[in-house]
Symmetry: C2
Subunit: 284 residues, 2 copies
């Protein structure tokens, strides 16, 4: 007779970088009573203190080596620091499981494989976010029914993949695995290019016409309000794939331009129908 | 001593074309008890019968001249038929106030001015809609706190403008007036181009990646699901202004392409910040 599965319960989980995503992980762990202790790691003590006050973490350290030994560290800092943070954690806590929450995977995973091959690391990308930033906007239900993509390599042992998958599932998410490279190619069009499209439309709209917008403009530009620094990093990390996907969108826009210049009814209908067919395939 | 203003109450309002907008007008008139009789005019008796059953209209005629004499007719048919419908109504009911609910104004108003100069007509554009179509998706509160743009010309008497403005306000809307030409120029970017951008992004996303989309893609492409026939007509009616506004968006997209190709951090930040500044000016 096997025991029924029990919810994972961690002794200590550390969150390295306590912003919107890190704060939401802390709130989710505490709401679901999955960790005895949630430790924040970061440089800005005042910000970490606010994360304590908002209930996202129990305590914090500004020096990673001073953390109580964690079972799991989730790296939630800006993507350009993640490999360095992974290295620091693996040096001080060689037995600790490590994952991240970054939006791009190929460069990061390759860098960690090359520089910290023995780290018990697997890349994670939770498809969850907000147009707000900061732990004070954290949401314990942010991962509910969201997808988290895990990006193991051939070198990643199941002893790393499985507990990290269980970790995200315990926060309410579904998990899938993908190789890092196709992950970044797919996310270029499903996540990164939409920010460019939304931003370009917003920027092209004269401010004096903002009182004439309707619901469509509002929805289409919503993510143009996202954090500029974060999205600059993501676009830089994934620039080749984003460029390719963006060129694809732009060539469709140019087909619309030709159809408008010719006032070609059939072309306009065909182009609009192609977009509708794809959007309808998703559902609302 | 002047009397306090009283709510407008019409004897007979006719709605020529009972789809989503026309159906919502009927529902709003009836919910607010603003008309004794709401008559639908159209060609498709089965569809009009369903509009009776859904409560949008009291009765219908498929021959405009058979309508009980209306105080007001709201033309809600596809934009290419509106001038012809206006002419028909003005011939049979020369004293009747006439307005429309179309998304473009310059060509329509010019055509009516030229062909039916004595019609008691003023163009209206309610900035309200839905990604659904048909009277069965009508909503009596669709115009609540929405903007309706009236497009009088120099020939439009106040005796037409004022009661039509009051009509929309009695449905809960705010009204402003604009000349037809700047209306169409402004709406090109605030309403029409977003449909092209949303559609192009949706069409460029491979179907097998739809399970990897997050909230941003969902919002940005939402209006790609809109009615293809309706939007083909709108884009055709306003093709020159839409083309110009779309080229403006496309040139910003190409600036993003250059910044990505160069992996230019400063350019990416500047471009994203410009979009955020404009979007933040609107609020959520």
């Amino acid at each position: 007779m096997t025991k029924p599965p029990t919810a994972l319960r961690w002794n200590t989980v550390a969150i390295y970088g306590v912003g919107l995503i890190g704060g939401s992980i802390g709130l989710a762990l505490r709401k679901r009573k999955l960790a005895n202790r949630v430790v924040g790691i970061g440089r800005n003590a005042a910000r970490l203190q606010r994360a304590v006050e908002s209930g996202a973490i129990h305590e914090f350290v500004t020096e990673p080596s001073k953390s109580p030994s964690p079972d799991l560290v989730v790296l939630c800092a800006p993507v350009q620091f993640l490999a360095e943070h992974c290295k620091t954690i693996a040096q001080h806590f060689p037995e600790t499981l490590i994952t991240d929450a970054g939006s791009t995977k190929e460069k990061l995973v390759a860098e960690i494989d090359a520089t910290v091959p023995h780290a018990k690391f697997i890349g994670s990308h939770p498809l969850a976010g907000s147009d707000k930033s900061g732990a004070e906007h954290g949401n314990p239900d942010l991962f509910d029914d969201r997808l988290v993509i895990l990006t193991p390599t051939q070198a990643t042992p199941k002893a790393v993949t499985e507990p990290i998958a269980s970790f995200w599932e315990s926060l309410g998410a579904r998990t899938v695995t993908m190789d890092p490279k196709p992950h970044d190619q797919a996310l270029a069009i499903t996540s990164h290019v939409p920010h460019i499209v939304a931003s370009s439309l917003a920027a092209a709209t004269p401010e004096e016409h903002l009182d004439l917008i309707a619901g469509g403009w509002r929805d289409t530009t919503r993510i143009a309000a996202a954090d500029v620094e974060l999205w600059t990093q993501i676009l830089q990390e994934n620039n080749h794939n984003v460029l390719q996907a963006l060129q694809h969108v732009r060539s469709t826009i140019q087909e619309f331009e030709t159809a408008l210049a010719e006032n070609n009814r059939d072309s306009l209908t065909r182009l609009l129908a192609a977009g509708k067919q794809r959007r309808d395939a998703l559902g609302s």
